[in-house]
Amino acid sequence: MARRIAIASPVSIAGEAPPQVAVRGPGWDGRFTVLILFLPPALLLFTLFVVLPIGEAAWYSGFNWNGFGKPTNWIGFDNYRFVLETRAFWLALRNNGLIIAVSLAMQLPLALTLALMLAEKFRGAVALRMLFFMPYILAEIATGLIFSFVYDGDYGLVASIWRTFGAEPPHLLASTDTAMLAVLIVIVWKYFGFHMMLFIAALQSLDKSLIEAARIDGATRAQTLRHVVIPLLYPTIRLSVFFAIVGSLQLFDLVMPLTRGGPADSSNTMVSFLYNNGISRMRVGYGSAIGVILFAICVTFAFTYKRWFMRDE
């Protein structure tokens, strides 16, 4: 999920450090040496492997090209039309929507509840925190494989439970009805611990005097929670939602060992759709068009979200 965590938009950085006019004076030579030696490696790598490829994706998306030789077959916006006419694209988009919905409706309340329980000190609290955080650091590939065993219709844990009730075990990952549901459960398993840790960190840095004041004024535990603690957590909740959405837009590794996006594209995410249709078949133009669409979604979302929900941070 939050493979690369977004913490601040360029806009807020710009606001944080107003442009400084360089003043020549003592030390300028030293400064110049640092600028020449220290900045170029980062800027070069970043430009070469991050910025230029995005620009090239926009350029390649106008061609019908298999990646060999020079792109010559210019087809304008046809690749975008092909993508938008593909049913699998809309399925992938819907699945990303589902992931976000489940993150909001299940993962977030679960993480918050656990954080409230585990932020207090009692014997074993730290061990439980670590246990719940552990799925997050496991590789998504390993997690996916573990759960493809759990769901396996012949040998898996789910199959075994079904058999004890005398029923014929289902092949959850092989059915278009259940594959996405199965993936969603794995997503909650893997990521709730990360969000829990965010909330625990926030709870521990809360101003305790506010809570004490509420208790002294006669508020019950539930009232304190509802009217003091939760409102104080709003910034963290917004952040957690942000990560859930960004994470859903990047999700790929977890899907591959579980379903490869199948059956019949029923469990594709945007990135696995991009992989299955663009990368694995070297359809550079078509794949780049998907990439550009995904890029547009990510950037639009990031800016809109920051503007609407995280203005004050």
Partner: protein, 282 residues
Amino acid sequence: MNNTETARQPYDPAMLFKALFLTLVAIFVLVPLLATLLGGFKSLGELRVNPFGLPRHWEWQNYADILFSGRYWQLLRNSLIISTLTVTLTLIVASMAAFTFAHVKFYGSSMLLSYLTLGLLFPAATAVLPLFIRVRDLGLLDTYFGVALPQVAFSLAMSVLLLRRFFKDIPHELLEAALVDGCSYIKFFRYVTLPLSRPILATVGTITFVNSWNAYLLPLVMLNTDALYPWPLGIMVYQGEYSSEWHLILAFITLTILPTIILFLLAQKHIVAGLTAGAVKG
């Protein structure tokens, strides 16, 4: 997992509910992991009838075969090389850039920093096809660097921001005094900034390492030779070969996630701090 028994009233319903809830979640997390570990000790036949319980007959052979095969060690070696390259390069390149942004005033500084933070806005997957073509044209396809360099580039934005924030807290007077005494920026960076910044370097290094160690998409696109595969790729190949011999696959999974779990237990603090750092301080 019933650690809440320390409550003063043993039958407080709230405490009971809490204990029950925590136990359920703990089971939800632990069962798949334990079943994987134990499954590796079972025969395929036993796995089918007894996937949950302890093995009736411990098959050490499954694990031994993998541990004594060159394959497992080769995968770990490849992963270690790629991750080490990525971490080393990221720390060097990002700390140099962060130092410049933190301590050297120059025209366009904030603009360049904003430029770098653009990298936080979208996942590597969006441009992976052009990235593949670029890496191919540079002749880096099917090399460790072909994976490591793009990984460094994509981890720069986050790393520079975290490092810069820390570097800025080093008192500027210290730098000025050093400069007056004839110390150069570069020496100050080498002998003052870096040694003072060990905690943040460890944190950034840990995030980068975990991400690189677990990465799948970039190596998948950039590498063609089995001999160079890092473990996430290798384990997918292994699963393809032994498609339904789950006892072997489970043993293999256990052994490949073992290094991560050991690292996690040893460096909990850095990992938790690292992976939630951007969030909390952001």
